[in-house]
Symmetry: none
Subunit: 259 residues, 2 copies
DNA sequence: GACTAATTACTGGTCAGACCAATGCACCAC
DNA sequence: GTGGTGCATTGGTCTGACCAGTAATTAGTC
């Protein structure tokens, strides 16, 4: 592959230029969080710079916390923890279940927008990735037998992530990501319960299918609608679960025993 | 002058080691703020490392804002010591204007929902607070004369915050807050410009009045609509501003040439 | 066949030396 | 003095080599 020269931004040295270009590639979703970047030597060829400059460029990204480098392994795009993930408030949310539904409310909003944009802006590459994630999830879910709930949750998450990434709005992706992480960290046990019960699982599966269909066929409004319903359903299921949980709690069982 | 080998800190690579040693020298007062460091080649001899590693070390210090380097001149110890680290996300979004509009897109969504919920859920106490913030802002804005833009921006922010708090969704409030901080940190200068131009200010004032009215009177749909329009307007204004900014940049000298 | 150890083909980390480009000072002509 | 001019010095970049971890593959062993 030939060197791909791109006009230098005036006033920018080579390393800064390299860093900027790589950042752009990350923002464009070419390199995604968690993904391994090409090797330094490959990037040199690709960007048409020496390894010294390339390495200084990577050093910039490392300083910013954007990539993470390990000798003998490579550089991976850091999993961005956006929007004050370490703020005291977030910790507060974590320990207080009553914020759970507030969280779901915001998440529904973002998830709906995400689905809408994915349907309207998604490229063919995005659609391929979304479908792939969907199939992995659906196949596993239908394989019946004894399913590993944790694994299913991961596949579920990957599917939704793929959809959000197709929105091509990195801010939206990262915000949604952080809210989802927050959600799972607080009620992962409950979510697991949802998968165990047959009725909720069937509903979730059906909604996933609808969401997939709407996004792939580019029906923006439909996609948003389905996503909203999906979150509404989950919220309702969690509400029911909580109710039941409280009933149990009243009979002297403690929350912690379920986590 | 002979090479001065010093025991490597375990787990630290050469560049980090170099950066650490130089930082220590600066803290010890060997190199003082404003002072010119020895040349790279001299530092290489002195520290017993290659220029590549030395340069990566300097790159670290530069990223932290500890030194300032000019070609053909040298590296000087910065007079302003680092102001405080920022999140990786901030770094990534800062230099990329295109993420600005992604950010605004998400913010519009949240701001709309926030206004809607404020109108439908807001209590009488919320309404009193919102009105108070609104009056403080509006009074100051109408006092004409020479207004302190920064103060107006604070009042503006306080008003929007009061509205979002009336949504009674702490997650929404916090997420919105984070995004707003992020926004202001990257384009505060531009936002200031908006307040300076008479036409945008008039439009913003009018939209604030409408938003206040809708929220107070409990017209949820109307409130959401106004909030969305508000953000859309601001986005458009920033787009125009950016365009003009680029035009100026193209037709004149770059800032760096004046430094 | 299954498990373990050596091999090997990567990866990033560091080094040396060369040349380019901007800076700034000393020198010189006017 | 004033304004060029040249040159030594600075940072910026490139090349190619070698060192040092990593991980997958292979060979060897039980």
């Amino acid at each position: 592959m030939p060197a791909e020269h791109q006009a230098l931004t005036p006033g920018q040295r080579m390393p800064e230029h390299v860093a900027t270009r790589l950042e752009r590639l990350i923002l464009d979703g070419v390199f995604r969080p968690g993904q391994l970047l090409p090797s330094e030597r490959r990037l040199c060829d690709r960007l048409g710079v020496s390894r010294a400059s390339l390495r200084e460029g990577l050093r910039i990204l490392r300083s910013k916390g954007i990539i993470d480098t390990r000798q003998g392994h490579g550089s991976t795009v850091a999993t961005l923890l956006p929007v004050g993930s370490q703020s005291p408030l977030m910790h507060l949310f974590k320990d207080h279940p009553r914020t759970l539904f507030d969280l779901l409310e915001v998440r529904a909003l973002l998830e709906g927008e995400s689905a809408r944009l994915a349907a309207s802006r998604g490229t063919s590459v995005d659609r391929v990735l979304i479908t792939r994630r969907y199939r992995e999830m659906a196949d596993y879910a239908e394989s019946a037998d004894t399913i590993d709930v944790e694994r299913l949750a991961r596949l579920d998450h990957a599917f939704h992530l793929a959809v959000s990434q197709a929105s091509h709005n990195p801010v939206l992706v990262h915000t949604l990501q952080s809210l989802t992480d927050l959600l799972l960290s607080s009620v992962f046990a409950s979510v697991k319960h949802l998968y165990h019960l047959p009725a909720p699982r069937a509903m979730i599966n059906q909604q996933h299918a609808q969401l997939h269909e709407a996004v792939i066929s580019g029906e923006a409004e439909q996609a948003e609608q389905v996503a909203l319903e999906h979150l509404t359903s989950i919220t309702q299921l969690l509400r029911d679960l909580e109710e039941e949980h409280e009933r149990l709690e009243r009979s002297s069982m403690r929350l912690e025993e379920w986590l």
